[in-house]
Amino acid sequence: MSTKVVGAVRKAFPDEVIGDHAERGDHTVIVKPGRLVEIVRFLHDDPETDMSHFCDLTVVDWPGRESRFEVVIHLHSLAAGHRIRVKTSVPAQSPVVPSITAVYRGADWFEREAFDLYGVRFEGHPDLRRILLWEGFEGHPLRKDYPKQQRQCPVPLLEDRPGQPPPFPERP
């Protein structure tokens, strides 16, 4: 059934669709970022595809590729029961993708998380700020070039001298 969905998208946006593949039962369509909102709105409104249920939105970081950040959106149709994966990728210099909160209200928090952990900006998003990390955090930790143990603790640590237990204040 999903091949029908990919076919419908290809027919509606012939120049937008870069590629599509079906792998292990999941149907994917790769599009240019420019008209992403219209494609998603088409998938939502078209009775044939009828993607009524917003499933997931995330980003995959491919440092080797020219267009580094790949935004992956999973949509799901309750009535027909099929799923589609819409992928679009943006370069590292201008990681900006149009926000689909106008079509799906739930994408709001998923986009804030993608911005928080990967640094991909979603233009048109009502309130794009960090959701999982605190405001003072510098950098986007899930990028492949962010070292895993680079910590930024917002509160001063008791200076723990090596081998010594942390200093206790005067016990009552």
Partner: protein, 167 residues
Amino acid sequence: MAVGKSPPAGGSLLVTKVEEAIAWARKFSLFQYPFVTACCAMEFMSAMGPMYDLARFGAEAPRWSPRQADLIWVVGTVTNRQAPILRRIYNQMTEPKWVIAFGTCASVGGFYDNYATLQGIDKIIPVDVYIPGCPPRPEQVLDGLMLLMDRIAREKSSRMRALKELA
């Protein structure tokens, strides 16, 4: 007096000195502030629940304001975002106060050794008892509480010490 433990040094159950009476009173009426965040909450509920009852040790009454609590259970992972909140609540607790680090994540950060997690709450607040385990079994939790109660029994209350120095 915990079962199977030797009586505290220099004193039968009928304590004579006022200080040991205070320590004995504090030991058996710990009002707890459950600073619960992560998966250890499941075992904390079991420890508080009817099967491994924490009420037998007098430490069952949860107090949700640091003013009225004298024991803070830090249960589960404390992330870097949660650290200032834990530190603020610890500072707002009134003396005498004790801290129990419940589980490996609270004690040393557990296997979340990355940018997001505080590697052990003793980096920001002094801890009295560390309970290992991910999550620790309720029996371990009760044993940790008994360790704390022994420690309280041996502590001298500074008030009495101050009075002694004055006299």
